[in-house]
Symmetry: none
DNA sequence: ACACGATACCAATTTTTTATTCCTAATTTT
DNA sequence: AAAATTAGGAATAAAAAATTGGTATCGTGT
């Protein structure tokens, strides 16, 4: 669904007419696929050139390119396990809730993977692998994800900094420089604390990897590598369950990539596992 | 793959030049998708009109239509669950790793739900709902899950204790009594620290909810309500990714059950969300 | 073997579609 | 309020696709 996700993500930063095109496309994907730019323009009530410009603004070469990519994503998403639609309702019974939750998590996982470019993922992995030091952080719920990544990176023998206190974070960031990496996690991408730290680090020459929702936001602007989460968290009830699920998808994926790359990984990992085993027995 | 199948099926009943076009398309699906009829014609060494006729003979409106349908089938087949089975290998490429990871997470989610009895899940929810105080803990990676649950319970207005330091945990447990609940998370179910705390709490009359791997273990023996995770973590490489995924499945499920039950939940939750929003804007 | 119809194929042309350019109006910035 | 940037459309250029018309080729029946 990547193209549709992209359109949805950029919708809010679009102009009047562009939004109208976006809405129409989102509503009528199927019919758009078979229409020419002129026909679409007429239906929406804008000029043909606007449709072409809309396509180009989304990053496509032109309208044909958009259409191609649109059919591609539609075909892709049609192959995904059909999720039970509709939000989890207050009177759903346990089995239904469980089923819906699984379906939604699954959708978040799939869409998150599709929302990210292979290139950026691989580059991020390389960057982390060759980093001298890695500063991880996130605010609120994301801080747990940051901490999880930190544990994993430690297992790989990386030098890692995690810290909840934002003041300490800024202080830490100030000590970073060339060859160091900041991994910033923020669902919204607008949290000031995170931006401040990223800014501090970037200005010292450290690389910044961001993990945010799939939309333009201040954090991605700062980042050297932007990773994205897709979580269609329509209702408040679900808290940030899906956002977290999506974040972990990316961090887990990165971790696996790192393990694959780092030849010493398995050895070191095994050693640390043994150490824990010993501890467990002793205590 | 339907389009490619169709081409292959009709290939034999085609004329000389048409077969040449068919062969080229079958060999170079990817590049054809981006080519115009003229370009394709040149590559194959036939006229542009032949390419159009070829498309029409296959049942498409024209060349563009064929191209669209071609990308569609390619996308479809790319999405087909390829090598779902088998571990993630060191030389799997990114797409494969992602697919396998999703498949494994999905399996963990489903099996975890199936491993738990509805009754225990519902009882656990009720227990948490009516608890005076809730002490949460887990060791290592599980401690993050505990913390996540703590955040969510706080949003619901529950009185929660989370603590990493095991000594403090024991001290905390000692203060618990009738009406209090311990939520203990431990993948193995044998970690001494966890058991000690659970024991202390249980002896004071507090209820114990355990979340462990799906097997008999000391912790479930102690627990009033035993919840289980299923994570087929065959290889070391995956670290505790699947275990964590499974643990979150259960805690997320519990959280939703609680939200459903607690009428005040949405209101309180909304309030806390607003508070965070304000903070964000100020800072 | 030859004529007949059918099909294959291409070049040229027409039609359709797409992309660009250039201009105006609106909006934002200074 | 002036300047600069941006949104959007009309007109046009460019490109691509589809049709046409005609010749060559193939197969079939006589």
């Amino acid at each position: 669904m990547s193209t549709l996700v992209k359109i949805r993500a950029m919708r809010d930063s679009m102009s009047n007419h562009e939004q109208r095109i976006a809405d129409f496309v989102l509503e009528n994907v199927e019919s758009v696929r078979a229409q020419s730019s002129k026909a679409l323009a007429e239906q929406v009530g804008v000029s043909q050139s606007s449709v072409v410009k809309f396509s180009q603004k989304l990053g496509y070469k032109g309208y044909s390119d958009l259409k191609l990519s649109l059919t591609e994503s539609v075909a892709r998403s049609a192959m995904l396990p059909k999720a039970i639609h509709g939000d989890i309702a207050a009177d759903d019974d346990l089995a239904t809730v469980a089923q819906k939750l699984i379906a939604r998590k699954n959708l978040a996982l799939n869409e998150t993977v599709m929302a990210n470019s292979e290139k950026v993922l691989l580059q991020s992995a390389e960057t982390l692998l060759s980093a001298k030091r890695i500063l991880l952080f996130g605010v609120g719920a994301s801080s747990l994800v940051a901490r999880d990544v930190a544990y994993k990176l430690m297992k790989l023998g990386k030098s890692v900094l995690v810290e909840n206190d934002t003041h300490v974070q800024v202080a830490n960031a100030a000590t970073l420089g060339q060859g160091d990496v900041v991994f910033a996690i923020s669902e919204s991408g607008v949290t000031q604390d995170v931006i401040r730290v990223a800014q501090a680090a970037a200005s010292q020459g450290a690389e910044v990897i961001s993990l945010t929702r799939f939309a333009r936001n201040p954090l991605t602007e700062l980042a050297t590598h932007s990773l994205f989460c897709v979580a269609n968290e329509s209702e408040a009830r679900s808290s940030s369950i899906l956002a977290r699920t999506a974040q972990f998808m990316i961090t887990d994926l990165l971790f696996i990539l790192l393990s694959q790359r780092d030849e010493k990984a398995n050895e070191l990992f095994e050693r640390s596992r043994q150490a824990v085993k010993v501890l467990r027995r002793d205590s």
